[in-house]
Structures are given as C-alpha cells and as structure tokens.
C-alpha cells in the first residue's frame, strides 16, 4: 500500500483522479436514492402550491434572512410535538425551492405557524416585535410597509413550473393580478383567483390597509400559509397514535 502511494505521489493527475473518486462515493450513495423517493414518498393529494402573494412573501422571508433564526422543521421528538405540532413530513416541502428547514432556533420553529396568530398580531410584531413580545430579541422591520414589487411574479411562477411545481399557464399569466386579488377579497378579480387556487388560501386584507399592496401583506400571507398546505402531517400523526 505504502509503495503504491509512494508512486501515486509522483503523478499529479493520478492524485487528482484518486481524490475525485474518494470524495464522490459518499455523496452518490446518499443523494442518488433521494431522487427516486419522489415515487416512493407520495405527494399528498391535498398538497397545494403557494399562491403568487404567498410566494412573494416567501421571497421576502428569504431576502430578510428570517431563516437564519427560525427553522421550519419540527423534528419527531416529544417536546417538539407538544410545543409546535405534528412533526414535518418530506412531502410538505416538495414544492419548496429552496427548502427553508433552517439550522438555528434563535426564535421558535415556524413550520406550524399558519393560523396561530391574527394578521394584526403579525403586522404589529413585524413592525416592532417588542410591542407584542416584550422580551423578544427579533429585529424590527419597519420598511416592510413599502409597496410590493410584483414585476417578477409571472416569471417566478413560470420558472417554478419548469422545475415541476404545478403552476399552469393561467396561473402564470395572472400572477400579478392574483397577488392583488388575494389581498382584496371585495374586488371582482377575486373570482379568477378562487377559480385558480380554490377556497383554501386565505383571501384577506392582510395588513388592514386595502389601498396598497405592501410587502407586509405578502409576508403575512406567507406566514399564515405555513403548515396549512396539506393536512398530511395531522393524518400521519393520528395514524402513529393508533
């Protein structure tokens, strides 16, 4: 062996090839099978994709680096089930490009956040966290009240559709209008939105101000959608208990 290595050390491309081989095996063994689990782990029938407004909110969540302090992955541990809710399933994030499971909980997990607080609470909390949670160390986000830029939304949906997220052509074409419609439940455009996305996504004036579509509208819509895209985790947990 030592002799072999003695000779390998004299051939730079040999060393290069050996490094590549040694460093590839583990990755191939662990990653390759995950591409077949698409077929083995079924995507629940009720799994919906984000609406354009929620997607815009998700992009703001990413932009501001919320994921640096909040995870979105409830582990299968008793205290986490009690604190947050049913543990997360792989299928839940099947449409998440990228996933936002996170690695640090400076703040609590957000995987089951949807519906836990009111929209007003979220708006107040984002503008000044300590106004609602006095001991919080979360930063304030006063600039989120600015108008939402919806320019890229259609292209964003189209890109995701190419990656396999079920957005059809109508959805792509109407993305901007749908973002507006979701936060204007009284407008006429809401019919088209309901037709495309169904009754499940919340249609409300998220920030309480119908005159403008703001970043905070989008972010709150996204936060309220967390954990509500499918009921599968609740069903799985119920089966586990039986």
């Amino acid at each position: 062996m030592l002799k072999l290595h003695y000779n390998l050390e004299k051939v730079s491309m040999g060393l290069v090839a050996a490094i590549i081989v040694a460093a590839s095996i583990g990755g191939i063994v662990e990653i390759a099978p995950l591409f077949t689990i698409d077929k083995t782990v079924e995507i629940p029938e009720d799994l919906r994709s984000y609406t354009p407004l929620e997607l815009a909110g998700r992009e703001i969540y990413i932009r501001e680096g919320c994921y640096a302090c909040h995870s979105q992955m409830v582990r299968s541990l008793a205290d986490e089930l009690d604190r947050y809710g049913p543990y997360s399933l792989a299928a839940e994030s099947a449409y998440d490009h990228p996933m936002l499971w996170g690695s640090k909980r400076t703040g609590p997990d957000l995987a089951r956040l949807g519906g836990k607080y009111s929209d007003e609470w979220h708006v107040a909390h984002l503008i000044d966290p300590r106004s609602v949670v006095p001991a919080s160390i979360m930063p304030s986000y006063p600039w989120l009240t600015r108008t939402l830029d919806t320019d890229l939304l259609s292209d964003a949906l189209a890109t995701l559709a190419r990656l396999g997220v079920p957005y059809d052509e109508d959805m792509i074409a109407a993305a901007e209008a749908d973002a507006l419609a979701q936060s204007h439940p009284d407008s006429d455009a809401v019919d088209g939105f309901l037709e495309r996305y169904g009754e499940r996504p919340a249609t409300r004036v998220f920030d309480g101000d119908p005159s403008r579509l703001t970043e905070i509208d989008a972010l709150v819509a996204y936060l309220q959608s967390l954990g509500t895209l499918t009921d599968a985790p609740y069903r799985t947990l119920a089966e586990d208990i039986q």
Partner: protein
C-alpha cells in the same frame, strides 16, 4: 503588482481588464436596475481601474531578467493583505451581530443593517473572504516552495486573487441589498456562482501546471490537501448551486433542488464546505508551516497518508448529521452518524501527527508565540473534531441541534483552529516575504496570542452554556406533563451568554486588529525578496 510583470504580461492584463469591464457593462446595461446592475457597475469600475493601472505601466521598464529564477511572491503578499482586510470586516460584523442579539434595539432602521442580512455577510466575509484569501495566498507559497518551481505564469495568480475577491464583494454587497439564495454558505446568486467557477478553473489549472514543473519527484503532503480543497470545493459548489434564474437579467433564481433533496444536497455541501474549505486547506497550511516554523519534519509520513485519505473519503458521507430527526430518511441519517464517528480517527491522526511533530521543540513553543498559534490550532482542531463527532450522535444531536451549542462548536473550530493556523502562517510568512527576520513587534504577536486564546475560550464556553441551557429548557416538562418553559423564557435565559460572547468576540477582534497593524509595520519598507531556500521535501521513509 505591475513592476513584477513583463510588458507583454501587462498587455495581456490590459486585455483581461477590458474584458472584465465589458462584462460589467453588459450586466449593468442588461439588468438596468437592482442588485445585478450594481454588481455590473462594480465589475466595470474594477475593470477600468485595472486597465488604467496596467496600461499606465506599459512604458515602465521590464522587470529584472532573473525574475524567473525566483519565486513569485507578489500575489501571496496581496493575498495576505486581503486576508487581513476581510478579517477585520468579517470579525467586526461578527462582533456587531453578536451585540445585536444582546441589544436588538441597537439595530438601525435600514434594511441593509438588519441581523438577517448581516449574518451571511459575517459568514461569507469570514469564511470566503478571510479564510479563502488565506488559503489561496498560502497555497501559492507552499506550492512553489515544495515544488521548487516558480508559479507557471504571472498573470493567472492575479486573475485568481482579484476575481475571487470580486466574488466575495459581490456576495456580501448582494446580501446587504437583499439578494440571496438562502442556502447556508452558498448564499451568493447565480451569476456570482458562475463567476466563481471560472476563477476556480483558472486556479486549478495554475496549480496543476505548476506541479507539472516541479523539481521534486514527490508531491508534498500539504499539496494533497490543497488539491483536495480545490477539487472537492468545485464539485460541491457546482452541484449545490444549480439554479434556474427567473430572468437572465435579474439576480433572482430558484434552486433546481426542492424539499428533502435540497436539504440533503445543501448539507452535503454545507458540511463538506467545513471539510474541504475549513479543514482540508488549512491542514495543508498546518502540514507546511508547522514543520517549517518548528524546524522539525512531520512526525509520521505513514500517518499523514492514512489521515489524508480517511478525511477525503469519510467526510463526504457525514452531511446528513445536520438532519437528524427531520424528514430525511432514517437510513441516510444513520449513515451520516456512523461516518461522523469514524471520522474521528483520521481527524485525531492529523491532530496527533501535528502535536507529535512538536515533540523535542517544546522550548520553541514556549518562547515563540507564532509556533504557539499553530500548536493551539492543532489542539482546537482535535477538540472541535471530537465535539463534532459527539454532536453527530443522534440522541446528543436531539439536544444540541438548533441551539447555540452548534454555534459554540462552529467557533471552537473556526476561531480556535482556522483563525489560529492562519495567524501562525501569517506571522511566519510576512517577515519572510519582506526580507525581514521577524515581525515588527514581537510583543504585539504575544499580545495577539493571549487575546485570541482568551477570546476563543470566552466565546466557546459561553456558547456551550447557552446551548445546553436552551436544549434542556426546550425539553423540560413539569410534574403535570406540560412543557415547563415558553420559548421566550429560553430567549431571556440567553442574555448573559450573548453578552459574554460579544466580549469574547471583541477580544478576538482586537487581536486581529493588532495583527493587521503589525503586518503593516512589517511590510513597510520591505527589503526585497524572500530570503528563503526551498524547503527540502521529506521523501518517503
């Protein structure tokens, strides 16, 4: 820079600078607004600046004709300056974000200075800016000395260093403006990622071409590590960053991976960024500078072979230990855990080999703060790999994951190991490259050493306490079977530790600032060329 290039090389430089400026112009014009256009203007400005610098020197005299018979050290010197600049930026922001966690009201009301945007500026600035520049700069030095050959050409080292720093600058300014992929340690957007691929290929080509000209039959072990660093980082970077831009004229993109696949790819990347960026490259540094400074050959050649291949082979498997108890399939978690524990063997073999090398030179360790930096680095390398293997065990991870224990582990590795070995290498190199025998102030080196050690200990110990407290509070139940603490109670319990961590970080930063000042004083009035002879490579036993 210019005086070390021949006139024809300066001409090539002008052409490349103009190409860079044109690329920048196209980006700025096509994107028209937003982050990508700002980045286009940055490249345009840099390209024009370099073109003027080089064109202005076209009529200056040729460099001395015997230059090809000497090592080419100007790029290394530039790389060290960039290392120090990024050290101050990265650690300065580290201290600032540490302070924000204790005192969040101090956040100014601007988007760019919010914690979530600054944190990746800290991680990218310190890992890629500080660590990366140190790796590239020292690799050029080590490669030439151990090969007894000059770098294969004089233009590409500059392409690598300047291009790499443009990548770092694009990345961190992007986050400030809200442009990020959100993938930890790979936050930079798609065009910056593509740019890095170009730079990396140039780097690899330069490395291999220089190795091909070596006058030593054997490739010294330090170069194996640098090669592994270059090759595997390329592989990781490309696979993890595969993304589809929303528009070719916009910075936004979506990664091709989603959900559980994305998680596995991300942590395959993430942990191997630790392995091949923060470990392999720095082991290369250790394997060269420790023997040089202590004047003793590496203790065991055999052990260095075992640990090199052990590290290269085992590390790739361990990424899934970041995903214990998550929706990742159980078998993948188990593989990650098993290989993490096995990884302790080659890791301790490396640390042990380094420490055994010092046997017989302990008086030097006592007297020479530079060598002490390297010794402490080896010790912390041993400690943090032990801690890492321990944290990778599933039940331990159930407590530590998501808590500040991870952050404590990270900084025991990065402050105690990575930064210490970099400082040891810098204190060895800077006098040598500037024709001096020692740093301008040895007392300053001594002060830096103690500040760094104290800072690291304060940081790491406070984060251990913080993390374990957090983990225990989250899982505590009262006698009625209800959770004892609300989440925010665990946040309140962190305050004293976050304050201590900020102080520890402040000490560490002060040390780094002293180092920067001392290097500046040493580099000033540099007396010509490196006064070294090539290190005789130890042939196999």
């Amino acid at each position: 820079m210019t005086e070390t290039l021949s006139i024809s090389e300066r001409r090539i430089g002008v052409v490349l600078s103009v190409l860079l400026a044109l690329t920048g112009l196209v980006m700025a014009a096509a994107a028209r607004h937003g982050v990508m256009s700002t980045h286009g203007f940055m490249a345009l400005g840099l390209g024009i600046g370099l073109a003027f610098l080089l064109a202005g020197a076209l009529h200056d005299p040729e460099p001395p004709t015997d230059r090809l018979r000497r090592y080419y050290d100007a790029p290394t010197r530039f790389g060290i300056v960039m290392t120090l600049i990024w050290a101050i930026i990265g650690m300065g922001i580290g201290v600032w974000v540490a302070a924000l966690l204790y005192w969040p009201e101090a956040t100014p009301p601007w988007p760019a200075t919010s914690f979530g945007r600054l944190r990746p500026v800290h991680t990218t600035g310190i890992i890629f800016g500080f660590g990366g520049n140190a790796l590239v700069a020292t690799s050029f030095h080590v490669l030439q000395r151990t090969s007894r050959a000059r770098l294969a050409d004089s233009v590409s080292p500059w392409v690598v260093l300047i291009g790499y720093n443009l990548f770092c600058a694009w990345a961190v300014t992007g986050y400030l403006m809200g442009s990020t992929q959100s993938k930890e340690y790979a936050e930079a957007e798609w065009y910056a990622d593509l740019w890095l691929v170009v730079i990396w290929v140039t780097y690899f080509a330069l490395y291999i071409r220089t190795l091909a000209r070596r006058n030593e039959p054997h490739i010294y072990v330090a170069n194996w590590y640098y090669l592994a660093f270059i090759l595997v980082v390329a592989m990781l970077h490309i696979v993890n960053n595969l993304a589809l831009p929303v528009r070719w004229t916009a910075a936004e993109s979506f990664p091709v991976w989603s959900g559980v696949q994305d998680a596995m790819v991300q942590w395959w990347y993430g942990h191997n960024a630790v392995a091949f960026f923060l470990t392999a490259g720095f082991l290369g540094m250790l394997y060269y500078f420790l023997p040089v400074r202590s004047g003793r050959p590496i203790w065991s050649y055999r052990l260095s072979i075992v640990s090199f291949w052990g590290i290269t082979f085992f590390y790739i498997w361990v990424g899934s230990h970041h995903l214990h108890y998550t929706a990742l399939p159980y078998w993948a978690q188990t593989l990650g855990m098993t290989f993490s524990v096995m990884l302790l063997v080659p890791s301790w073999a490396s640390a042990g080999n380094a420490i055994a090398t010092l046997n017989g030179a302990w008086h030097k360790v006592r007297d020479d703060a530079t060598l002490r930096f390297m010794f402490v680095a080896a010790v912390f390398y041993g400690l943090s790999t032990f801690e890492g293997s321990f944290l990778a065990i599933r039940p331990v991870n159930s407590l530590s994951h998501y808590t500040d224990w991870t952050v404590g582990h990270v900084h025991s590795g990065t402050l105690g190991w990575v930064a210490m070995i970099v400082f040891g290498a810098i204190y060895t190199l800077v006098p040598q490259l500037n024709g001096k025998t020692e740093m301008a102030s040895l007392r300053a080196v001594e002060w830096h050493f103690w500040l760094a050690v104290t800072g690291t200990l304060v940081y790491v110990v406070s984060m251990w306490n913080a993390g374990i407290t957090q983990g225990l509070m989250w899982r505590a139940y009262d006698e009625n079977g209800a959770l004892s603490y609300s989440f925010v109670q665990s946040v309140e319990a962190m305050a004293p530790y976050y304050l201590l961590r900020t102080i520890g970080g402040g000490l560490f930063l002060t040390g780094a600032a002293i180092c920067a000042w001392n290097c500046r004083a040493t580099m000033r009035g540099a007396a010509g060329h490196a006064a070294d002879r090539p290190l005789a490579v130890q042939p196999a036993e």
